[in-house]
Symmetry: C2
Subunit: 433 residues, 2 copies
């Protein structure tokens, strides 16, 4: 039992590494108590297992279960590799075995999300580019901390020829293989941020799917629009289907001899695609539309909430949304209570009940889950000329402060003006009546 | 039991929020199994508690235990505030009560670390400043992910008059109050990075102390040197002593009428302090040296490892350190095994056994825990003229890549040249014989 106690009084790492240890430890402790109790009250009948031998087994198992087994696992296969070129087989079985060998990660495995994001290795051309990326990254770290997700920021070009938007696929693949404990890899572009810190991905909706993007079936299958979906934010299941799909998806990329051909094919299929290079977003739309029977049934086109929200229609709504949330809080005393950040998620769930409702239509006044500054290109500064530079950077500032207010609040502060980074202490009973 | 199952199959959040739920769930499940077994094998004697009523109790308790209680907590006190001005009383008791009300955080509470860092609200003056800050932040996020620590990045000026190095104290205080689950707040400057991803803070050493900094008693008490310690990295216990100490420490800051007087006092006490303004580092040295009886016994001056390492003597050693670690790995097959990132900590513990030894003396070839680029000022670019700009930025690049290699490795890649951001896939049996 000493070993279990040590586990239970270690740092949060032991919580990270030893959830199964905790569970087993609880079970073991209970059995021990019952065994001791019974030994004092009832003679142990001969047909009941010897609790002594069970005790030894439970003492040994938790520690052993948390280490890599001495026997070979798939990681020990010298052929095993992380690159795009290395084909991976039987990944579902391998993940399952890994989870069996590491039972501390079994609890919650089916819903475990690993967030992945990143940016280029060298400094941004835009003088404020890296500053914006830093703020966007902080935002993601805040969201992940609130919901207990791991996050990995990549800033290396893993495949020398897979540049730009193609660069994310070697990262996603490496993340899958390095994180068998994660059921989902959640790619979020560097220019997307979480503007609803309460909202959690409704994973139950996606239980029969392996890839989730923001999109509209009609725009893909009928209108054949390259913006019928957005590939800047996606949830991809850590499974063999996804590895196979990414092999096909990435085969349209610049590292292959078919890159130019794919550029032409995608442009001729999606007539509103205005640039010649093969891109991952149109590529995904193509696979859904043209190789429908192979892939489409496992790809969820989510449009019932801002799985990924277009910034231009969102950024002017923040003040009205805040007003709405303040109104709700004035009605519901519980929501105004100060609390530790660690229980924010529970308060968020309560708040969700009061503000729930579709928010695809601007003006519905629910916080947009994710606001994505597509076309603004914060790093290079080469924004789409549909908008001014100011519209982009001011929009980002407002969105970042809008999100930050939700994080600052349990720390006692707020930005009273979304266009200004200044903060003030949160008044005692906020929002005021 | 349904409610418990829901908990056990939720996301990692449930692991975050429900460690006690897991333990209780394990105990409950074991009791249930035993109860069912016994009901089939032995008539339940009348003097044994009715397992049915116990079942109900265990089903209810885990969920209830994870919410804020409906009754008032200290958070509900309208006088409760997070700012420097708001005096906090009985914090130890308040934390203890909070942990009682939220038993899911009790396990591991005594060693739970919350890392806090941050930078200024506006873009850096140095054109590559924010890019460096972004990389330093990623480094911290990597370290925290590996060890299961939460991390909070602050980029708001919480007190309008507490600028520069003084800005951290309102942040640390707010973090303490918002995170009662954390035993330690770990402040790490924006220009410090983790260069040993395996190493864990030896908290057992600090069990009788409330504040840990890198420092040398002789330099403080005898030589009266302002660099007898470094205040850029510190571990501070989340307790009443620390709140009281920070009140005194921060009272030397620019938000008080005594700021200029303190500047003079600190300079006349620590003769090598060359700038006139009252600073937090000399302030801390002063409190240890001059108000020794009040504070010194609770302040640990750590010098047995690079709790915070001076970059200039470290950055030239990275290649030799890497060679040493490669040698060790060639000897110990277990260390060469590929593995999931989630078990890196266990491999790290094994590796530590082989490379353990004091590393204060350059050349001992143990990875420095933290490398701190004091004097380089990456954000403003106003580096100390003792060094060239190139020495600073190249040193940072090498340190960041040295650390990144330890993170990239379980993802299948490495920077072969520390001075270059390029990566290559890790060869199959690395390091090569």
């Amino acid at each position: 039992m000493a070993k279990s106690s040590t586990h239970f009084h270690r740092s949060k790492t032991s919580i990270f590494l030893s959830d199964g240890c905790l569970f087993l430890g609880g079970a073991f402790s209970a059995l021990l108590i019952v065994g001791v109790f019974f030994s004092f009250t009832t003679p142990i009948p001969s047909n009941i297992p010897n609790l002594g031998s069970v005790t030894t087994k439970f003492t040994a198992a938790p520690a052993a279960a948390c280490l890599d087994p001495p026997d070979r696992t798939f990681y020990d296969d010298p052929e095993m590799g992380y690159t795009m070129e290395k084909k991976v087989h039987n990944w579902d079985k391998k993940r399952e075995e890994w989870l069996k060998h590491h039972p501390s990660f079994a609890a919650g495995a089916k819903e475990r999300i690993m967030t992945v994001t990143g940016s280029q290795p060298k400094p941004c051309k835009n003088p404020i580019g890296d500053h914006l990326l830093l703020r966007f990254f902080k935002n993601k770290v805040d969201y992940c901390r609130l919901h207990g997700y791991d996050i990995y920021y990549n800033n290396a070009l893993l495949h020398p020829k897979m540049f730009g938007y193609w660069a994310k696929y070697p990262v996603v693949k490496a993340a899958m293989l390095a994180h068998p404990e994660a059921e989902w890899i959640y790619w979020v572009d560097s220019d997307a941020l979480f503007t609803d810190m309460d909202f959690k991905l409704p994973l139950e909706r996606y239980k029969d799917h392996n890839l989730v993007v923001h999109g509209w079936p009609r725009l893909i299958h009928e209108k054949r629009s390259w913006t019928g979906l957005n590939a800047g934010v996606f949830l991809i299941r850590n499974c063999q289907w996804s590895l196979d799909f990414m092999d096909v998806w990435a085969s349209m990329g610049p590292q292959t001899p078919n890159y130019e051909k794919w550029g032409k094919t995608l442009r001729s299929t999606f007539k509103d695609k205005f640039f010649p290079e093969s891109d991952d977003q149109t590529g995904l739309a193509y696979l859904i539309a043209i190789e429908k029977d192979k892939w489409a049934d496992k790809i969820y086109l989510e449009s019932e909430y801002f799985f990924e929200g277009y910034w231009e229609e969102i950024v002017t709504t923040f003040e009205n949304v805040s007003k709405k949330y303040d109104e709700v809080e004035r009605e519901v005393r519980e929501l105004r209570r100060k609390h530790a950040e660690k229980v924010s998620e529970r308060y968020g769930e309560l708040r969700e009940k009061f503000v729930r409702g579709g928010d695809e239509v601007v003006g519905r006044l629910k916080r947009p889950f994710i606001t994505h500054f597509t076309g603004c290109q914060p790093c290079s500064g080469d924004h789409n000329h549909m908008y001014s530079a100011d519209a982009c950077w001011n929009g980002m500032l407002r969105a970042l402060n809008f999100a930050d207010n939700q994080v600052l609040r349990p720390h006692g502060y707020m930005h009273p003006d979304l266009g200004d980074n200044g903060v003030t202490p949160i008044p005692s009973d906020y929002p005021p009546p």
